[in-house]
């Protein structure tokens, strides 16, 4: 029973990682942009949730409002900074987004301080399912798993079945060709970027009641997302899915079985994948 709980936690963490990593991998794959600030949107989402819950009184109103704000921030950043980086070397993308991280972190510090904050679980979901006499599982985590699964499913549907998805896939496999066939690349880029950042912010908002809201939370998860993207293969949604779940489970089980080594487990997994398939699980050499 104990392991069932850990398994559920692992899947839930993995799906949360997927929300972040899918945006990251699409932004890499389609736009060719290395976005270190992706983790900052996770942090921004969590702080938006904290702030909006205080104002509106509940997560149900805070999430749509926060999503709207995150979309606007994403679009504004794409227009002002990222659109200038598409043709530049990765090095400059790294630096500019590194600069953005510093700015976001300090703004966070000025606006919200450096304390750890909590966000209340919505009353509707604030109970646990008893499993044995002593162990129980919080419903909010199950809800979170369900939402992430639905979003992942919706994303796969959009990418496989819709016109927008066709354009995204076309842009991902050959940007120039897609552009010359009449795909509006600047618009597509803006959409993908804003969508990716909103997804990251959403992940931050729904994770806030579980993980609490703290400084540096974005950077911590960003690096794990990098590991996910490296294992899955850049630009691949499926790879991101498999890798997210693998990392989620490895990290959660690692914390249970060997707490001292758990911080290292996921990197060792990455090292093995690098030796075996340097291009990632889902990409062909």
């Amino acid at each position: 029973m104990f392991y069932l709980i850990q398994l559920l936690n692992g899947v839930q963490y993995g799906l949360l990682l997927f929300l972040l990593a899918s945006g990251l991998t699409l932004i890499f794959g389609i736009m060719g942009v290395m976005n270190l600030a992706h983790g900052s949107f996770y942090m921004i989402g969590a702080y938006l949730a904290y702030w909006l819950v205080k104002i509106t009184g509940g997560l149900w109103l805070a999430i749509p409002l926060g999503l709207a704000i995150a979309l606007i921030i994403g679009l504004a950043l794409e227009q002002t900074f990222f659109s200038r980086l598409y043709k530049r070397d990765h090095l400059y993308q790294v630096l500019l987004t590194f600069g953005l991280i510093l700015i976001f972190e300090e703004l966070r510090s000025i606006l919200f301080g450096d304390d750890v904050h909590g966000v209340a679980v919505p009353a509707l979901l604030d109970f646990s399912i008893p499993l044995t006499d002593t162990l129980s599982y919080p419903v909010y985590r199950l809800f979170l798993t369900g939402v992430c699964l639905m979003l992942a499913g919706a994303m796969v549907l959009v990418i496989r079945k819709t016109r927008l998805g066709m354009m995204i896939r076309a842009g991902s496999s050959n940007r120039e060709m897609a552009a010359s066939l009449g795909v509006n690349i600047p618009l597509l880029f803006a959409l993908v970027f804003a969508f990716g950042t909103a997804l990251a912010a959403f992940a931050g908002m729904v994770a806030a009641p579980i993980s609490s809201v703290f400084p540096g939370m974005g950077n911590q998860i960003l690096i794990i997302c990098f590991v996910v993207v490296v294992i899955g293969g850049i630009g691949s949604i499926y790879g991101a899915m498999i890798a997210s779940l693998a990392i989620g489970l490895a990290d959660t089980l690692g914390k249970v079985l060997a707490p001292e080594l758990s911080g290292i487990a996921i990197y060792l997994l990455m090292a093995v994948i690098l030796l075996w398939r340097p291009q990632g699980l889902a990409n062909k050499a």
């Binding site: 500019l96 953005l100 993207v229 490296v230 911080g263 990455m270």
Partner: protein, 333 residues
Amino acid sequence: MPNISLSRTALLSGVLLLAAFPLTGATFYIQLGAKIMIMAIFALSLDLLVGHTGLVSLGHAAYFGLAAYVLALISPKYEAASLWLTLPMAMIAAATAALIIGFLVLRTTGVYFIMVTLAFAQMLYAVFHDTKLGGGSDGIYIYVRPDATIAGIKPVDLENPVQFYYFVLVVMIAVYCLLSKALHAPFGRALAGIKINESRMRSLGYPVFTYKLGAFVFAGALAGIAGYLAASQFGFVNPEILAWHHSGTVLMMVILGGMGKLHGPLIGAFAYVLLQDFFSASSVFGAYAKHWQLAMGGLIVLIVLVLPHGLADLFERVAHLNERRDANLAGEE
């Protein structure tokens, strides 16, 4: 190229300025100067990868931090460790880590390489942060600086701030000259070729992977020197010196100064640390001084957008303008 003589004069006068600096400065500024030169060594080592080989490593702090930890771990608690024993050990540790990590990360290119270097550096961070090996997140103190006594003679007393300053200056110049020699040797020319066109170098028969790994290990060992010196100066190590924030900072120094030129990282390190000092001066910014990273972040964004080739390039262009103006004036006369 008229620039060579120009930059050589500039370099020489820079060295003379640095050598004369302790005669005037207060202890605080002498220590600041030593700190800047240590960061300059670190930036020089990263530029070997970024500017000369085309490998954008975002995990270079790992080798710096590892060497610092080696000094902290092998120093006896209340006695001085021997410089001649611990410095090579720290460098070997950093180089070995770079060899193992390099073997893995050099299997990837481009964006993957950036992410993977970052991830492995973060792994080392996790090792020192989560386990008791290096005192966990609290770090370790080094109470006594290394002792430079060799064969009964003590050429330099590192406990003395001024002597420490000169020691760092000498090391920095040595690293600079070593890199300059290496870059003009066939090894460095091959790296330059790899940076410009890797597949062509491969088809010419160069063992590209071995060259890249060589550069990676060399850069790791040099970063180790900087880490060792930093640990001796501050007498303290904690996991933050391995963290990606530190890797990002040193990358910023390289770009700010101008990558691919040996004097670029030197200028970058000086400019960065001085700017950081300025932005965090509460006499200027008051209560906002503790949010100096905001200004630093803005500056980084600005540099990327308007000055991608760094200060060294800017200086050169200004010098060129002057030359041209002088030439025009001479022509008119």
